[in-house]
């Protein structure tokens, strides 16, 4: 590994470095990756237990349940996004780093998504199967979850940055982020339902894509501003 940067490394190097570090940290603590997945699977199990195993009902409510479970599971994992950095002083180091803070915040969020959002997208067909979702619809489910979890992670990073260091962080984070996340849930779940009903579902995909692009380009700035404020 070349560690003799005689020049100031560019922002792309910084972005990759922080993604790599966070992935390495997650690798050393696999619980952080697995807990949201278990949570996702368990919420999906709760529903048939509560309303009964009728196939018709499960097919009808499957997209909604899967999406709500994905939203809650992402929210659960977001709380720890900046927590350990705040506690061990890494956040201070990020703030005085020559790398722009939005880049570092984006890197951390990307790593978070790779750890919690992406595996969730990968296992979603498995759970969708138990809800008797036709395999043709599963592609749409995965696509909406892919776009949706990216937006959720980015949106949630703003909330995590605002609440880092507060005592009642977890409950507060949900209170801040859930109303903001409602459009994503609404677009995602309804698009899958439309696809399941053989209806036109293009609008929702485009809207989710637009949301994801807008949040990639805007959310890191809000997160950076929030981190500066929270760490004062």
């Amino acid at each position: 590994m070349d560690s003799s940067n005689l020049q100031q490394p560019g922002i792309f190097a910084g972005l990759l470095a922080i993604i790599r570090r966070d992935l390495l940290l997650a690798w050393k603590r696999p619980g952080d990756v697995l807990n949201p997945l278990f949570f996702f699977a368990m919420v999906c199990t709760l529903f048939p237990l509560a309303v009964g195993p009728s196939a018709e009902q499960l097919t009808f409510s499957g997209p909604g349940v899967l999406w709500v479970a994905a939203l809650l599971s992402t929210l659960l994992s977001l709380n720890s996004l900046f927590m350990s950095d705040y506690e061990d002083g890494s956040l201070d180091q990020m703030l005085v780093s020559p790398q722009p803070l939005p880049v570092l915040a984006l890197g951390k969020t990307i790593a978070h998504w790779l750890i919690s959002g992406f595996p969730l997208v990968l296992i979603s067909p498995l759970l969708a199967m138990t809800y008797r979702m036709p395999s043709a619809v599963m592609g749409i489910l995965m696509l909406t979850l892919l776009l949706g979890t990216i937006s959720l992670s980015l949106l949630g990073s703003i909330g995590a940055a605002l609440t880092v260091g507060l005592h009642r962080g977890t409950a507060l984070l949900s209170l801040l982020i859930l109303p903001l996340a409602m459009p994503i849930l609404l677009l995602g779940a309804n698009t899958v339902s439309l696809a399941a009903a053989n209806d036109v579902y293009g609008t929702g995909i485009w809207a989710l894509g637009a949301y994801a692009i807008a949040s990639i380009s805007l959310a890191p700035y809000a997160t950076a501003a929030a981190l500066r404020i929270s760490n004062e």
Partner: protein, 248 residues
Amino acid sequence: MWKFFHQMASPPYFYRLAATLIPWFAIPGLILIAYGAYAGLFLVSMDYQQGDAFRIIYVHVPSAYLSMMAYMMMAVGGGIGLIWRLKLAHAVGAAAAPLGAAFTFLALVTGSIWGRPMWGTWWEWGDPRLTSELILLFLYFGYMALRSSIDDTAKADKASAVLALVGVVNVVIVHFSVEWWSSLHQGQTVFKKGTMDADMRIPLFAMLIGFSFVFGAMLLRRLRTEVLFRERRTRWVRELVLSPEGGK
């Protein structure tokens, strides 16, 4: 021009100015509301479809309007506060949030009461405006919860300003996505556009302006409280309190 703004924003000046301004907002506002309410309740002839139930718009629409205006004010105030470090602008957010939440609540409840004879149910998920209004209420709750959980006022100001700015972008997205969603489910709304006669509209305008004026008066009063609290350690507050006439 800049000098004027700076003088406006100086806390002791604003504290006194607001006290003189309050009646100038409150009295015209109350007169307009009195006229609008009387006309809306008794003078305007009833809607041929909805009967007399449509008279609820005279409180529902102004409340819904103010619920969104208050959120806009929080966001604009927060933005100004972050960029120009104007403490008074941050105080606007703190003062407007509970008022906005109250009017959002009012818009929700009146909408629900109106829906009861129309839909036969107190709550209709298919109505996009009520759903958006409910999400707006949650946004207000989040804003106030964040504010109250940060002890340091300066920090609470900045953090909640960021939240309000993110939230205001989201309000627009909520609006469009909920419209799309309700169109999928053949959602119905009782508020139809362009079906109002002029004689129905004039009292509604009176109510809108009247509510806005009264809101202004209430906001100014709360701003005075915020200014007093934030400046409690300063010399001018000390002199104000010790002066023989007091400064409530």
